[in-house]
Amino acid sequence: MARIHTPEELEAYRQQILSRKDPNRPCISICAGAGCVASGADEVIAAFSEEIDKQGLSAKVDTKGTGCPGFCERGPVVVIYPEQTCYLQVTAADVPEIVEQTIKNKKVVERLLFKDPETGGRFAREPDIPFYKNQKRTLLCSNIKIDSKRIDDYLAIGGYSALRRALFEMTAEQVVEEVKKSNLRGRGGAGFPAGRKWEGSRNAEEPIKYVIVNADEGDPGAFMDRALLEGNPHSILEGLIIGGYAVGAAEGYIYVRQEYPLAVKNISLAIGQAEEYGLLGDDILGSGFSFKVIVHQGAGAFVCGESTALMTALEGRVGEPRPKYIRSNIKGLWERPSVLNNVETWANVPLIVNRGADWFTEVGTEGSKGTKIFSLVGKINNTGLVEVPMGMTLKEIIYDIGGGIPGGKKFKAVQTGGPSGGCIPEEQLDLQVGFDELTQAGSMMGSGGMIVMDEDTCMVDVARYFIHFLTDESCGKCVPCREGLRQMDRILTNITRGRGKEGDIETLQELSDTAIEASLCALGKSAPNPFLSTLRYFRDEYEAHIKEHRCPALSCKELIAFYIDPEKCSACGICRKKCPVDAIDGAKKKIHIIDQEKCTRCGTCFEVCPPKFRAVTKISGEPVPAPIDEEKRMVTKKTKKAPVQ
């Protein structure tokens, strides 16, 4: 491919790509995102290529591995164009049938379609599946359409036209103004208006400036940014180049976790391709604007997601945050003005430049505009990535898109905002998602993790889990965070083990206040949130643990016991055979009894007891009933009462 020198050449080349494309030509798109690959997508892709070859169809059908379309729960996901037929949980063994039926005979393979669990109805087209239908996918919609390793695919869907527009139809100030007008707020967590950040850097005196992509997505249970980087890397690159032009930077950095090898590979490939095409490098499209991009791999430190720590890491040092007396958009990387935005923020930029701020602000709430991608995980039927308009209620996300809670369990809380976020209880499910709305409820937007918890989840244990995570990840610079969190972790662990005492809650509150007041960076300042928000809504659970040594969710190992109800036990022997520590006594026709001394509370017996018996129960806060007398242990078939004569 030769370098493109002018905007006209870019459009001519785009037309050339489009003219080669026949919209009616069948295309098999298979998700090659990390989730689907873990479920065997690679084998499915290989099987399709082989089958298409074998059938002599390679001249008539395209096959591509694409980015993540979000429906990870039902992966590997296959979408066949132009009909948009969507097959779920496809295995290599299904491939010959799909090729025979759908590609050759234009029929659908019924059993691979999405089946509505309530009505039993099947949906053939991707956009009709409730999981997708209720979303508003402006960023994620491209993922399944393009092969993320091919720049031509991105150009075919209008890629780099926003860059052309910014460079040739707008001044840098106009670009900043447009982003400001759109009220695009940072998708990484803090929600700071991107336009204002950009303006500050643009107006700073220092001539050398930088733009940076924060792709150090470290929140457990969140993978939105990875899906974008893996699935549509050029959209982020295009946003970054536009940002560089707007701010007046000649260099951009992409800080991406080394734990995301596919993302590192795809973004590096994208940079190489953009350079080759003249969309990156010296004198982009003949505009006189030059820009280069460097990929920096993070070496595994959660705190590096914090802006100043990330910049210190980019300088080749230990990633510790520094005080922000002067904001990093004025003095950041190497003490120079640096605009740092999250992956999703950058991905929104080309859309805003192309379609205008007014288009962007059509969607959303008063303070939060546009869409937001959430990773919907935990105790939810449809795990995956969902993109919704700001202002949608939590209830709509969890029930209409997520399909509710599995196993008929009762919803308890949803945790948003990552480790430093908070839990929102059932009575607030009508809350609209937005930066300010979630903060008011005691949680936060964060980068978009949304973890659903049901009645079996212990809220004290959830707080302990996050505080423990943050204790591990504290960089150690500030004492209230380093030492305070450690003490909070210790106290919370004690509470979940039944060793809590009066006054623990007050001590935890005091430690929280100090950490919030006296830590330097957002990690420490927000670290007590998981405790504070669970205390706010679930204080009764804390008190039950401390005062009654009882775990209401029957989840804390040290506070529960497993007990076999002699009335229900049919002596089937499954639990006895499966028990890893031989703690269950029993025999054929002899009611089983758990030896509480030997039991490690692994819960295996509870899981394997057949649902028709449900003999194994959990007990907390009360003594385990004494084992029944030996002579009563023989199972006697309950005979029907003789009919009254």
């Binding site: 479920s39 457990p220 995301y260 070496a299 430190a301 990633g319 795990t383 889990y465």
Partner: protein, 150 residues
Amino acid sequence: MEPERIDQIIEKYGKNPSYLIQVLLEIQSEHNWLPGEAMKQVAEQLSVPLTRVQHIATFYKAFSVVPKGRHKVHICMGTACHVRGAARVLDAVQDVTGIKPGETDLDLKFSLETVNCLGCCALGPVMEVDGKAHGKMTPGQTADVLKTYE
């Protein structure tokens, strides 16, 4: 690791000290751990104090200053896996391998680590061995999976 190879890596990054972390990452990925000699060489070549190299090598999770096993076992302890029972999977793996997170067995066969999210939450609990994810793990299945590694 050959000192010449380390030199090559340093050269690739133009002997620029701001690429210190990238240089160490490359050595780590090729050699599986960072021997003291290698760290010394990097410090000298990039003209940074050895203490800074050691600070970085011990601060970031990607680095190891002790030898690692042939197979890297990662147990995801992310929130989604946690609420689906990752702790029990970890217990089982500890029993099978006889090592705790952060440790390597004496035969240098397995190194066990916990990680905070592998990003395949739909498959939780997840155990990853040498980059291959094994999803929807139960404590009982872990031994079967680990048996397949030599």
